[in-house]
Symmetry: C2
Subunit: 240 residues, 2 copies
């Protein structure tokens, strides 16, 4: 893990860019003492430097004392996109414009994304937990598809907050019942790119007994800011 830049924020948080092999990431730490860690997994147009993601990460570090890490998954942010990814995105745009079904197209690129991203998260986790300012336990917050697989295969993930707005491949829908860690599942009630019933079915399917659903009005990008605090408090119950 190589730190490529650092910035000390007014709120006392140290914000550092890093690379780990091909993986670019950002790490926010609240101070030198070992802090519990939250991994932020994102998708779609998002980027580890996207302003809302950065605001969430800074808030969690400054107000709640978490270390927070985000990475750009393969094909995201500044990372190169494969020809296959580019083709899938073009197919998706065309199908959406034509009002055609999109599930198979999503399946063709979110499925492989999960397969590639989860090992990268585990490698990143190894490197992060070797730092003295990160103590664990570890939570995951963000994209559901990657989060399900990570929660199933990675015993160091102690709690997770999943955002329901995004395609979840059939393989991860099947794996949902193997998720047994405490969960907070966040749903936008009128998410234009996500079927509500399908999200409720997924919530029902998770294997854990300690799961909570928070649903708010509005579309995909309309999650109210107070859910950021609710998420930090959820992790406070399980990572402290």
């Amino acid at each position: 893990m190589r730190f490529t830049s650092e910035q000390r924020l007014d709120v006392g948080v140290l914000e550092r860019e890093f690379t780990l092999g091909e993986i670019p990431g950002t790490l926010w730490t609240p101070g030198p003492a070992p802090a519990p860690l939250i991994l932020i997994g994102h998708n779609g147009g998002l980027h580890k430097r996207e302003s809302r993601l950065v605001a969430r990460a800074r808030h969690a570090a400054a107000e709640y004392g978490y270390a927070v890490a985000a990475i750009d998954h393969p094909g995201h942010g500044g990372r190169p996109r494969s020809a296959v990814d580019e083709q899938a995105r073009a197919d998706l745009r065309r199908a959406m414009a034509a009002g055609e079904p999109v599930d198979e197209i999503f399946e063709s690129f979110i499925g492989p994304l999960v397969e590639k991203a989860v090992p990268e998260w585990r490698t990143t986790l190894d490197a992060l937990l070797a730092l003295p300012e990160i103590g664990g336990p570890v939570g995951y917050s963000g994209m559901t598809a990657i989060g399900i697989r990570l929660a199933v295969v990675e015993p160091r993930i102690a709690a997770a907050g999943f955002f329901a707005g995004g395609y979840v491949p059939r393989a991860q829908r099947e794996e949902a019942r193997q998720v047994t860690i405490p969960l907070l599942f966040l749903l936008q009630w009128d998410d234009e790119g996500n079927d509500r019933q399908s999200a409720l079915d997924l919530f029902d399917a998770f294997g854990t007994k300690e799961k909570t659903l928070h649903a708010n009005m509005g579309g995909h990008a309309g999650t109210p800011w107070f859910e950021v605090d609710d998420g930090d408090r959820f992790f406070g119950r399980h990572l402290r």
Copy 2:
């Protein structure tokens, strides 16, 4: 409003029993300065002195600085039950034991309960807001059926937390779209006495744009304690 007993709690909260005409109630106040007010509406086997209700009220007063009031609705707690109420309850027990439909029985006594309880809440609210230690604004927390009607007819209610576990008469299901104040709707996912889909439909029907659903695993009485804090924080966003 006549105070019939008072107790100063360790946490600095003053807990007083009162009567207002036929209405018995309890008032918790955090101090002499005007505090925002939360009304707790309860039902079923509950009573204004039920231990979990009392714990919630004390917590809201001590930790969050709210004044909190609970009353016993007609036929509840120590109040006399009418012959009609007694008959309805006997019918309900018999129908449940026989596995017969119960909606019409609930309709026959929850409907009239709403009609009687809401004017009592408004009278209580008049008396409470005349006290120097209560400032408003006012929130309502508890039973959905009474809360819907109260939110529709009482403009002093600024925000409400409804518990989905309980029968909601057809009249209140219709009125739900007239509810336009911020709402927190609390659902027990496996509530044995409450149809999940019917609760989700009701959440969908509320007219307000600022509504949030919190769903947790478990049965009717299994709401986790952290939802008490979440409710207090919800009111903090709307009553401060």
